[in-house]
C-alpha cells in the first residue's frame, strides 16, 4: 500500500462521503419508484418504449419498408394494420416501432454527448478559475448565442445527414447548458472541506475533479440529463420533420410525421400517430425527471 493510499484510508474524506451520497441516491431512486406515481408512470412508459425499440425486429408485425399492403388504409384491427398504412402501403405500426429505435437512440445519445463534453468543460472551468474559466466560459457564451436549431441545421448541412451527424448536431446544443450547470456546482463544492482535505493529502487536480468533485455534483446533473433527453427527442423529431434528420428514407418519428403532412385531409393517422408516440415518450421522461428532481431535492431554476 502506498503512502497515499494509507493516507486516503486514514482520513475520512470525500471518498467515503462520495459513496455515501451515491448509495443515498440509489436509495432515493428506489424509494421514488416505490411510491411516486409520476415516477412509476414515467418509468413504465420509458421502459416499454425502449423495449419496443430494441425488439422491433422481433416484434414488429411487418417489414417497415415493405410496400405491399393497401395504400392509405385507415387504422383498423381487422385489417391487421392497427395504425393503418402510409401512402406507399407500408405498415405504420412497424414503421413506428423501427422509428423508435432512431428517435430514442439519437435523443439519448445526443444528451450523453452534450453532457460528457459539457460536464468536463464546466468542471475544468469551475475548478481552475482564472483565465481558463474565462476562455472556456466565453466560448460557451458564443455557443449559447446560437439558437440550437441553427447550430443543428448548419452542422447537418456541413457534415451531411446520417445517424452520428444528427446525434452530434442535436447534442452540440446541450454542451453549454451542462457546462454552466457543472461549473456552478463545482464553484459551490470547491471550497468544501473535503476538497481542501483531498488537496492537503496531495491528490492531483485531475483526481480531485473526477473522484471527489464530480460525484458530488451528480444529483442535479442526473435531473438535467433526464429533462434534456426529453428535449433531445423533440429536437430530433424537429430536424427529421424538416427533412434534415438521419436519412429521408429511414423511418423516424419526426420523418413519419413529416411525410404525413401531405395527407392530413385524407389520412390523418400518418401524422397524428407518430406525434402521439413522441408525446407519450417525452411525457414519460418528463414525469420521471420531475419525480427525480423532487427526490434528489434539486431546484427547478437550477437547470435552465
Amino acid at each position: 500500500m502506498s503512502t497515499r493510499d494509507r493516507l486516503l484510508n486514514a482520513v475520512d474524506l470525500s471518498g467515503r462521503r462520495v459513496f455515501g451520497i451515491r448509495t443515498d441516491l440509489v436509495e432515493r431512486f428506489a424509494r421514488v419508484l416505490g411510491r411516486d406515481l409520476r415516477a412509476q408512470v414515467g418509468f413504465t412508459i420509458v421502459v416499454l418504449f425502449l423495449l419496443a425499440a430494441v425488439f422491433a425486429p422481433e416484434f414488429a408485425p411487418y417489414d417497415p419498408m415493405a410496400q405491399e399492403y393497401g395504400i392509405l388504409q385507415s387504422p383498423s384491427l381487422s385489417s391487421g394494420h392497427p395504425f393503418g398504412t402510409d401512402s406507399f402501403g407500408r405498415d405504420m405500426l412497424s414503421r413506428l416501432m423501427f422509428g423508435a429505435r432512431i428517435s430514442l437512440a439519437v435523443g439519448l445519445g445526443a444528451v450523453t454527448f452534450g453532457a460528457a463534453v459539457g460536464i468536463v468543460v464546466g468542471m475544468v472551468a469551475g475548478y481552475y478559475g482564472g483565465w481558463i474559466d474565462d476562455l472556456l466560459m466565453r466560448t460557451i457564451d458564443v455557443m449559447w448565442a446560437f439558437p440550437w436549431l441553427l447550430i443543428a441545421i448548419m452542422l447537418v448541412a456541413i457534415f451531411g445527414q446520417g445517424f452520428w451527424n444528427v446525434l452530434f448536431a442535436v447534442g452540440f446544443a446541450y454542451i453549454d447548458d451542462f457546462a454552466r450547470l457543472a461549473r456552478g456546482e463545482v464553484l459551490a463544492i470547491r471550497e468544501e472541506e473535503f476538497t481542501m482535505a483531498a488537496k492537503s493529502i496531495g491528490l492531483v487536480d485531475r483526481e480531485i475533479i473526477f473522484e471527489e468533485v464530480f460525484p458530488n455534483t451528480v444529483a442535479p446533473l442526473i435531473v438535467q440529463f433526464t429533462v434534456f433527453s426529453a428535449r433531445a427527442i423533440l429536437a430530433e423529431s424537429t430536424l427529421s420533420f424538416l427533412g434534415l434528420g438521419v436519412k429521408p428514407t429511414t423511418p423516424t418519428w419526426g420523418a413519419l410525421l413529416g411525410q404525413g403532412r401531405g395527407f392530413i385531409t385524407q389520412a390523418w393517422w400518418i401524422s397524428i400517430i407518430p406525434g402521439i408516440a413522441i408525446m407519450i415518450t417525452v411525457l414519460g421522461i418528463n414525469l420521471f425527471g420531475d419525480a427525480l428532481r423532487d427526490a434528489f431535492d434539486v431546484k427547478e431554476a437550477d437547470e435552465t
Partner: protein, 319 residues
C-alpha cells in the same frame, strides 16, 4: 460596480460574442459542401461559366481576403446582397420579419397569459386539484412538438371545422382581423409548449417565494393574504421567470421555424432553410447575425430588468 460601467461592459461583451458568431458562421457556411455558382447555373453548366460567375461573386479570392472584405462591409451595417435574388440581405430579412415576429410575439403572449395565472394558482393551491390539473396540462404542453400541435390545429380548425385559414400569411397592413386569423393557429402551436415550460417555472419560483420568511412575516402581521401574494410574492417570483423567458428564446425560434413550414408561411425559418439549400452565403450569414444579435441583446435587456426588479442584486452579474 456602477450601473453605467456595468452596462458598458456588458454591451462590449455582447458585441464580442456577435463578432465571434459572425466569424464562425462565415467559415461554417463555406464548409458546407456545394458551390453556389454551380447551384445557380445548374448541373450542366460549363466550367468556364462557373468560374466566371465565381469571379463575379468574389468566391475565387482567398478565404481570408473574402473574410476581411466581409468584415469591413458588415462593420458599416451592410450585410451584402443575396446571391440568388440580387436583393440586399437586409431587404430579404425585412421581407420575412413580419410573419415571424407576429407569430413569435402572439405566441409569447399566449404563453405568458396561460403560464402566469396557471403557475400562481398551481403554487397557491399546491397539491390540490387545481395544481394537479395545471400540472398535467403543462406537462402535456411540454411534451408535444410545436409543429405537431400545428398539424392538429390545422386538421381541427381548417379542415374538420373550417373556421380559420389553413395556409399562408396576411400582412397586418391589410387588416387586423385577417392578420390575426392567419397568425393565431401558428402562434398557438409555438406558444403552448413555451407556456408549459414557463408555467412550471412560475410554479416552482412562486412556491419558493411563498415559503420565504418575509412572506410568513407579512402574513403574520395580518396583511391581507391576497395583497401579500401579489405585492410581495409575485414580484419576487417573477424574477427567475423573466430570466428564463429570455433564455428560452432559442426554443421559441426553433418552434417558429418548424411551425412556419406546417402553415406554409414565408418567414425567417423558411428563408433560412431555403438559403442553406441553395448555399446563399450572404443571406445565411446575415440571418444568423441578426438572430444572434436579437438573442444576445434581448438577454442583456432581461438581465438589466432582472437587476432592476430585484433590489437585492448588485450590478456585476447574477452568479
Amino acid at each position: 460596480m456602477g450601473m453605467k460601467r456595468y452596462l458598458a461592459k456588458r454591451v462590449a461583451h455582447s458585441f464580442v460574442v456577435i463578432y465571434v458568431v459572425a466569424t464562425t458562421v462565415f467559415f461554417a457556411v463555406r464548409a458546407i459542401p456545394g458551390d453556389p455558382a454551380r447551384m445557380m447555373l445548374g448541373g450542366d453548366a460549363s466550367a468556364e461559366a462557373i468560374s466566371a460567375l465565381r469571379q463575379e461573386m468574389g468566391l475565387n479570392q482567398p478565404m481570408y481576403v473574402q473574410y476581411f472584405r466581409w468584415m469591413a462591409q458588415i462593420a458599416t451595417g451592410d450585410l451584402g446582397n443575396s446571391i440568388f435574388t440580387d436583393q440586399t440581405v437586409l431587404a430579404r430579412l425585412a421581407g420575412v420579419a413580419e410573419p415571424t415576429l407576429s407569430i413569435a410575439a402572439i405566441g409569447m403572449t399566449i404563453a405568458l397569459l396561460i403560464a402566469l395565472p396557471a403557475g400562481i394558482v398551481s403554487a397557491v393551491h399546491q397539491n390540490q386539484i387545481e395544481d394537479y390539473v395545471a400540472t398535467v396540462v403543462s406537462f402535456l404542453g411540454i411534451s408535444m412538438p410545436g409543429f405537431w400541435i400545428g398539424i392538429i390545429l390545422l386538421i381541427t380548425f381548417a379542415d374538420l371545422w373550417p373556421v380559420l385559414p389553413a395556409f399562408g400569411y396576411v400582412s397586418i397592413g391589410e387588416g387586423i382581423v385577417p392578420w390575426f386569423q392567419h397568425v393565431i393557429l401558428p402562434a398557438l402551436a409555438v406558444g403552448l409548449p413555451y407556456g408549459g415550460i414557463l408555467m412550471r417555472m412560475t410554479r416552482s419560483s412562486m412556491l419558493e417565494v411563498l415559503n420565504e420568511d418575509y412572506m410568513r412575516t407579512a402574513r403574520a402581521k395580518g396583511l391581507n393574504s391576497r395583497l401579500v401574494l401579489f405585492k410581495h410574492g409575485l414580484q419576487n417570483a417573477l424574477i427567475p421567470v423573466v430570466t428564463i423567458a429570455g433564455i428560452l428564446l432559442g426554443v421559441l425560434v426553433a418552434g417558429v421555424v418548424a411551425v412556419e413550414i406546417v402553415f406554409g408561411i414565408q418567414g425567417l425559418g423558411r428563408l433560412l432553410i431555403r438559403s442553406i439549400e441553395r448555399r446563399d452565403f450572404p443571406v445565411i450569414q446575415g440571418a444568423v447575425i441578426v438572430i444572434s444579435f436579437v438573442f444576445v441583446f434581448m438577454n442583456l435587456f432581461v438581465d438589466m430588468l432582472y437587476t432592476a426588479i430585484n433590489p437585492k442584486i448588485a450590478y456585476g452579474g447574477r452568479e
